[in-house]
Symmetry: C2
Subunit: 210 residues, 2 copies
């Protein structure tokens, strides 16, 4: 049995964040498909494992028993500590990483993922709620672009789990309706992430939930 | 000078989370009013302090210089460690707290605060985007209510910063259009929080941003 099982699906950028970190760290892990589009996360069985009804869920098969964790941001911090990679070196970096992971969840991924779901998967183009969320997603991209205008990585002089969290949905520009040329600092930063040894796109790491 | 300055305003539930923790811990702090409704968080000066353009911002006046931190979830964890209160005792609790703070930011506060802003402050009742976000807020309240149905506190057998984060907007039932009798486990949990020694409502702790 692999050391880590990740309940995930390829269309989930939140799942991708964890799959990418496990891959970059050379972790011993295997994906377990969540049939998201068939409604699996809304079933009573799934809610028993994760009351929040979301993917991903990590199972770390430890000698003292399975450790189960949801929320990509929490999982990223847990794994960065386990692997001793992509984490902080100082207290200031620790909280800089944490605040960007929170901004990602609250604003950037929060709006980008909702906007993509409505636009790309539900085809609600022109829907007032979809347009409202799209405008908020663009706000969050502008904030990230401004932040990256004079630095290479989000929270430290090297890549951390803050970068891995924030990029989760950004390698699908057509699906989220963005041209990264309009956000040049984000474009350069995504290239830097793509060039990390071992980088792979979501579809290469996880099975489809469709 | 107080040990902590909190840039905040009374209408901000995210500011309230930090103000409440500082108060429950008996911290030496003072609020510094953010003129949110006058647009202060959108100014260049404010963005220099916090590129995310949000309140609250904590300034901890330390002997080694001011430590500045934004994002209520990061501030709560920072302060719980400083005070040795409302934090974790085990690694499992540490990550349970973190995943609920992330859920709060991503879903519960994320949607509740947006819904309140549109409904109560912008009077956009019936607006499709407001109704969409209201439905999502209700989803997150149902998840929290289910989680609290068989426990007193969110992430440990005692109150933690996860509780303090999640309750940030929930003492304004009229403003978010909810009757907590419909969510009985949340109602009982809010009573437990109200009974913590030193508890006070937002308006008693911070100046208005109006």
């Amino acid at each position: 049995m692999a050391e880590f099982t990740l309940h995930c699906f390829a269309e989930s950028g939140n799942s991708y964040k964890v799959a990418l970190l496990l891959t970059l760290c050379g972790g011993d892990w295997k994906p377990e498909r969540v049939a998201f589009f068939g409604g699996e996360t809304r079933t009573a069985d799934y809610r028993k494992v994760n009351v929040m009804g979301e993917a991903p869920v990590l199972r770390h098969h430890r000698p003292d028993g399975d450790f189960i964790l949801s929320q990509s941001g929490a999982i990223l911090i847990y794994l960065s500590r386990r692997f001793g990679r992509f984490g902080h070196e100082t207290e200031a970096e620790e909280f800089e990483i944490l605040r960007w992971i929170l901004f990602d969840n609250h604003k950037l991924t929060g709006n980008t993922a909702s906007e993509r779901f409505m636009r790309f998967f539900r085809k609600k183009v022109g829907d007032p709620a979809a347009e409202f969320i799209y405008a908020r997603a663009k706000d969050s991209w502008r904030i990230l672009d401004a932040h990256l205008s004079d630095r290479d990585w989000v929270a430290a002089p090297r890549p951390t789990v803050a970068d891995i969290s924030l990029c989760g949905y950004l390698f699908w520009p057509d699906q989220i309706d963005v041209n990264w040329n309009d956000y040049p600092a984000i474009a350069r930063w995504l290239d830097r992430i793509r060039n990390l040894p071992g980088w792979a796109p979501p579809e290469a790491l996880m099975p489809s939930g469709l």
